[in-house]
Symmetry: C2
Subunit: 247 residues, 2 copies
Amino acid sequence: MSRFKLTLEYDGTPFSGWQRQEDGIPTVQGMLEEAFADFLGEPTTIWGSGRTDAGVHAKEQVAHVDIEKSYAPFAIQGALNKRLHDVPISILKVEEVSDDFHARFSTTSRAYEYKIINRRAPLALEKNRAWWVIPPLSLEAMNEGAAYLIGHHDFTSFRDSQCQAASPFKTLDVLKVEQKGDLIVIKAKALSFLHRQVRNMVGTLKLVGEGVWPPEKVKEILEACDRRAAGPTAPPEGLYLSEIKYD
Amino acid sequence: MSRFKLTLEYDGTPFSGWQRQEDGIPTVQGMLEEAFADFLGEPTTIWGSGRTDAGVHAKEQVAHVDIEKSYAPFAIQGALNKRLHDVPISILKVEEVSDDFHARFSTTSRAYEYKIINRRAPLALEKNRAWWVIPPLSLEAMNEGAAYLIGHHDFTSFRDSQCQAASPFKTLDVLKVEQKGDLIVIKAKALSFLHRQVRNMVGTLKLVGEGVWPPEKVKEILEACDRRAAGPTAPPEGLYLSEIKYD
């Protein structure tokens, strides 16, 4: 038996998220498992680095798979991409790895990018690829607010009610906001995140950027340890899983 | 009567190009004219800076329209964007202009960008938004080849057989190739271009980048004044109309 690490990209628009669901509901894991089953002639399980919600994209997602027969990595890549031709999932890289590699448990960091397009006009080229925000956002205020979230904290205020993590404590290594014309990108990096933590942080920073809340309010929200204290969840179409690191 | 300049963006994927066609064939001009007719309650003609082919995108396209009744520019923008909600066309800006402004005849330069993604893996996030090219391309060779095309030349070798321009002579002000990771962007700028000139130049530079042709071959192709001497037409999905300038 050989274990393979898969690096992949997907447009999340047509999928009900990463995780396999019942027959007929299109998910990224489901499509990958179907493609593997067709290629190998037997049911196959794929393990992802983590789930993404419906509509969330990945520039870089990592998964692993165990295969009985021996295959060259490029042959797996070719066989899978051929079978995924009609869906927006692409296998960027396949590597043989040792048996102790685990796509979820071996990660040393995960990074996300969140794209906002800040303008009056609706989105055409970036429809389903970014959050359209009309009120002008202040980059400076957003970065000032973001700074309160960096570090080791109880992130209960930014945690989805469906979150299954054992603890609300996480260490946020990076949270920064960059701007180029009407494009605003929020970059976040941590060993791991709570469910919807990035989208909930973005929803709060957007209100800070608009001037609805002062940047210092973010500290209060964090300390409240209450989801109702923070802003609404930012929509999924702006979020990209962007980097998964391993030792 | 007032004349308005419209600046717009579109995703060309679902459209049979810019130019109005018979009923039922979706085109950008057709959609805009329908939206105006619905807003103003009468048939309306839109004049574009130039046509784009089926599948070609615009980050910036300019058009003008004459309206009998007096409207504030932002009211026109809002009314149009509301009616274009279900199609990937967005009115970025509306400005009232003088009667001697003409979207096509008043331009002082047009710019295009052509996106290539140069990698083994198929496109997922950039499907229909870039040309997927597998063989590794040499940026240096492409730029060396591009340099032969800059200036005032007879561009017959890069002119589509359907081109209606009176003369094959054009002055190409900019043609440069830039790279960032696996993304290659070819930028072109001129007062005007022949039909499919940009896609035909890109199709040739791609073969130079692959090493099929040496850069000097571009000079020979240009001097041949024969469409058959150049490379094939690059696909539409990589092309973006990107800037239209006026005095």
